[in-house]
Subunit: 342 residues, 2 copies
Amino acid sequence: MSAGPAGDRQASLTDVAGLAGVSHMTVSRVINGTGPVRPETRARVLAAVEELGYRPNTAARALVTGRSGTLGVVALESNLYGPASTLHGIENAAREAGYAITISSVSRPGRSSIADAVESLRRQAVEGIVVIAPHVTAGRALAGVPSAVPVVAVGGGEGAPVPVISVDQYDGARRVTEHLLALGHRTVWHVAGPEDWLEALERERGWRETLERHGAEVPPVIRGDWSPASGYAAGRTLAKKVPTGNGGLDAVFAANDQMALGLLRAFTEAGIGVPADVHVAGFDDVPEAAYFTPPLTTVRQDFIEVGRRTFGLLTERMGGGDQHARHLVEPELIVRESTGPR
Amino acid sequence: MSAGPAGDRQASLTDVAGLAGVSHMTVSRVINGTGPVRPETRARVLAAVEELGYRPNTAARALVTGRSGTLGVVALESNLYGPASTLHGIENAAREAGYAITISSVSRPGRSSIADAVESLRRQAVEGIVVIAPHVTAGRALAGVPSAVPVVAVGGGEGAPVPVISVDQYDGARRVTEHLLALGHRTVWHVAGPEDWLEALERERGWRETLERHGAEVPPVIRGDWSPASGYAAGRTLAKKVPTGNGGLDAVFAANDQMALGLLRAFTEAGIGVPADVHVAGFDDVPEAAYFTPPLTTVRQDFIEVGRRTFGLLTERMGGGDQHARHLVEPELIVRESTGPR
DNA sequence: CGAGTGACTGTTATCGCTAACACTATGCGC
DNA sequence: GCGCATAGTGTTAGCGATAACAGTCACTCG
């Protein structure tokens, strides 16, 4: 398209050097700002770069330096708000620091798929890897992965052999549960997420231990799969336990907003009023939550911050640091009508 | 960690060759399956590969072959259902074909940011680029981008100098509008998306022209920004136009489900019943839509299919093909209670 | 029995870049 | 005026892989 050198391939350092009348090393120095170059030489080189539309070849550079300028992210292929937002947070931070991001997404989490994903990223010669896989299995999967390249996990496996950043799910659940108890309920029911998600377990544990600490009875857990449909199913079951008198179910904490939406739907269909008859709370604060019927009380997580810290930790490890601390980000309780006055 | 060769660096072809007692070329042939190798030699080589944990160096390979095995995707940094799902669709297709994906996300769409993103991907030596940027500006931005590497767009700019794949927004809007008219409404109001989104314009055009074709009056457009909040604001305005008698507003088509949710919320607060007093429809069929109050009539888009076709088109162009056809994927109308019997 | 044909393996050059070192000026201190 | 640092530039040697060609050997064919 543009006036290339011989043939029609991309211009190389040597081509630029030829046009500028210097050696290729001088061009390299201008491009990278290493070593001193006389201003007028620099100008000539830059003009040649411009004219040829020179673009450094990352493969060649990576080959000789051993650094690719690329970070790998293992992500779960889903539209779930949490994981997707975390990914954005990390992209953000990486981009600001000038790193490229390559993604290896995993359709179903599991030991081998995660190991495969990490493996394929290593082939790409990434300098660091972030695993977004909030599953209990993820941690174990990582255990088997040899890592000459630093790996950190987000929201992931307890006992993972790598540092983990996450929002404090336990604390978020504690806050919601205490909020509900403070409204005068004897106890709070819980629609949990899938058992193989660490976040689900942490939220459940936060809920359970808070009830215990307050001497409240712990009702049986209803387990969903994060989907609105599963929340709806849970709601149909729970609706039967809502008596007109007192002593029945009157407060539910769903492990995410989507399931809370399903609950709301089921309660509405059953003629149960929220917040009139039952108080409902969720977790995540998806953008829609404020516009549910009724607007949903929930827990907000700062994914941008999570992304930032994750990236920070990764670069630190790439620099050689090596602590296995668990880094927690504080969540925030957002109170709305669904737990409002009756 | 494992028993490397000298030092502690990754094993190279030469290291493997040394251990197996062959030349590096033979190892290369075994790895890539090019050229004949005696079975026992192959076995010796594979054993050495295993022992050293050999991993081919993609940078070196890319340098010599000129092929990186990587595709670039320019994505909009947002959690909007459409773009995010499209990204998944593409990842999917690329992964199945053994391509790696590197993402360059753009926080605010615009001529220069998109050009920058494409530029940074080209530096990564990607073999092809997919631009997910459903903005009118995106198409223009691409116009200025020299492309030695093939580029295709998804849901993007009319008049872009590259092939475009997208769901047929116009047709989706037509279907919703006709559905509402068929319910007996004199006309249908529209809460549109932002003017700089091509999808918003197409949906609006589909709605407008369908009304005109049926001889219905075209009410003024209310414009939102895809967010539930903007849908809510629109709903507050529209609520005033809903009379108890007839002759007023009684059907609204929102350009996406999130805004439709905001509408529902506003109507509920104003004591307007859906579907009793007003019929509401959305666009996207987000997973939550079936659980809104009431469940939402909407238009479903097959993003996996979009991803597949996009990838297919890109590889075709990488292979040398070169048609600028517009590829449309058919959407599907999903009817639910929000436009149900009164 | 010599030439030809594959199968199998090795040698060498090369991709585009940076690291390391070598070289030439120039300016400065003594 | 000599040594020495420093600015500015060039030369050479790889990084780890593939491409292209060149052998070697066994076997077939006329």
